[in-house]
Symmetry: C2
Subunit: 368 residues, 2 copies
């Protein structure tokens, strides 16, 4: 194999594929990136067996061929090369020579026989959406996933496509997060529970904007994301997702409209009085035209008043402020509406268009 | 005590004094910042017993007084307040009320009886130099200090003032770093070994430019840095410093002039082949008009040629690349001169004006 391409291109490719290189594994081959040169391009592939990534980059290929190489070591060398063209060459002993300007490196490569290539995906249906939209939706729901072994589905994001909607739902035992976005056209109905790690990785590497398309393809056991010259294939989480609709209520006794920034900053400050050992909730008292937020802990106490438009009954209710913060942080509206049933029922933060719904469980509290 | 001042001013003050708050200590009072309000200003003081910092900020003082408060907790609250004026008030129970816009915090303060105030410094002589110069000089020598308990002086920077010179020297058993800068006028001869931590802290908080003066005052056991409204007092390290002049040689057999950037980048790349368990040196071969750098380890091998102007004999010598890198990184000259005696003698990187001198010990090597 002998290929020539710019350092810059190589670094971009490595940034993409290194997401599927496991940090710890006893299988040396999983730590490798596969380099495969064919006419006109160099392909890089990594696969940690639950997630695989493949990306192609244009290159001058003097000699086709392939080799596997420790991804971390190869990346660190490439990154430190001068900003210039890089020649990558292998010999019969799978030794890899890397040359760039006056620098010459030579490191050991591995045969590709053991390498686990990406699985063939038997696509049932596909949907196309912008990279920007996918990235935004992921960031808006991913925080309420949970790694606990209690329920595998909690570690995933439930992605549904129906009519002209794409919907992502997460749930972690304290809260539910739902986002819905409109697609440009109707798509075949489909759904999958995707590991949160996969979507987190995807949101880090798919940097495209609103005009950069991504195709999401569903198969029985896998989901595939294709964009630009990159393809990411992940296993999906088996089983049924939670019956979310049954968990949502629509019968509210109190509604408040409040400035999002003010509420968020106030909640943020209240967390200062919380320590690991003293996890006190923030108590919210809603009355005519205001919300009073209070928190008292061993460290000290805080009290803050925020203007709010209230409809319905007065209410006193308490929350873990972190859960409200997580939801408010990813809402871009200047004003938010919060819906309450009673003091020991979850509250719902949602917009009138139904593009977001955040349901948060309250906590018990005692007044001194 | 009751004072009013902007959040911004408070944050700046806390950034400065928090450098002398110990991370771990069994004495609760050392974790505190002392707040002292007198007519027209609020003073903050911290003291970890080897380093003390005091800074004053203009404030509306409604009621003079003082209180001590846990520095980390107080800082974290102040930082999260809205960008507005902050009212800090104490009551008879040493409770501290912090108000800013609609936010009200109340936390426990402490009496100031136990607080260890800054020592009185019996100044022998002083010198004034710009904050920028002090900061630069510190960064240019501090990396070759050593925390080893072998020799207390190695953990310090030897600062000397004589005639119109200020000189800083450090030494860690592998190398010596020396910087000399010209003062605007002659100063009284004086010298002290200053703990590296003190100077590191100083370089982080004294942000002034070339026109911002700093006064450095020497006393028997302390050194004091005064700038703007801040005063930093540190213990000095007892004992005599090393006889550096006896360690320097002036008898060179080989001299090379080389582009600093090229050499630095090449050395930087060579470190990629070094692992914790396999600490191979970089071998440098100097011949007519070039330096060849080579490194071979279990990971792989590299070889690079750099143009160099040589005077004197050819030479093959090996170094820990990190030590050369540390010195080259803080030299701003485009070209550097490196002076060699023989293969097992230290090399010296220095300029002709004598503003910097870096002496680095070579390491043994074997060729395969």
């Amino acid at each position: 194999m002998k290929v020539i391409l710019s350092k810059d291109t190589l670094v971009k490719g490595l940034n993409t594929v290194s997401r599927a290189v496991p940090v710890r594994t006893t299988m040396e081959i999983l730590k490798c990136v596969l380099l495969e040169a064919e006419e006109g391009y160099l392909k890089m592939v990594t696969n940690d067996t639950s997630l695989g990534i493949e990306t192609k980059m244009a290159a001058f290929v003097e000699e086709a061929g392939s080799v596997a190489v420790d991804a971390v070591m190869f990346s660190s060398i490439i990154r430190k090369l001068p900003d210039s063209d890089v020649v990558i060459e292998t010999d019969a002993q799978k030794k890899i020579k890397i040359s760039c300007e006056n620098a010459r490196f030579s490191i050991a490569g591995r045969g590709t026989e053991e390498f686990i290539y990406l699985p063939d995906v038997d696509v049932r249906s596909s949907v196309t959406v912008s990279q920007f939209t996918v990235r935004e939706m992921i960031n808006e729901v991913i925080f309420s996933t949970s790694d606990s072994n209690l329920n595998a589905a909690m570690a995933g994001v439930y992605m549904e496509v129906f009519e002209d909607n794409m919907k992502m739902t997460t749930l972690d035992g304290h809260r539910i997060s739902i986002r819905v976005t409109k697609l440009q056209e109707n798509s075949e109905k489909n759904a999958a529970i995707i590991p949160a790690k996969t979507l987190n990785d995807l949101s880090k590497i798919a940097n495209g904007d609103l005009d950069s398309p991504m195709t999401i393809s569903f198969s029985k056991n896998h989901i595939q994301f294709s964009y630009d010259e990159t393809r990411m294939i992940s296993r999906v989480i088996d089983g049924d997702y939670f019956k979310i609709d049954a968990m949502l209520t629509h019968d509210y006794n109190t509604t408040v409209k409040v400035n999002k920034r003010e509420l968020l900053d106030c909640l943020d400050r209240s967390t200062l009085l919380i320590s690991e050992s003293d996890h006190k909730p923030v108590i919210i008292e809603i009355s005519e035209e205001q919300m009073v937020l209070r928190l008292r802990s061993a460290i000290g106490d805080m009290r803050e008043t925020i203007a709010a438009e209230k409809t319905g009954e007065d209410l006193k209710i308490a929350f873990n402020p972190k859960f409200l913060i997580d939801a408010l942080r990813v809402i871009s509206d200047e004003e938010v509406r919060i819906y309450f049933v009673r003091f020991n029922f979850p509250c719902t933060i949602k917009d009138e268009e139904g593009s977001y719904t955040y349901v948060i469980l309250p906590v018990n509290f005692t007044e001194d």
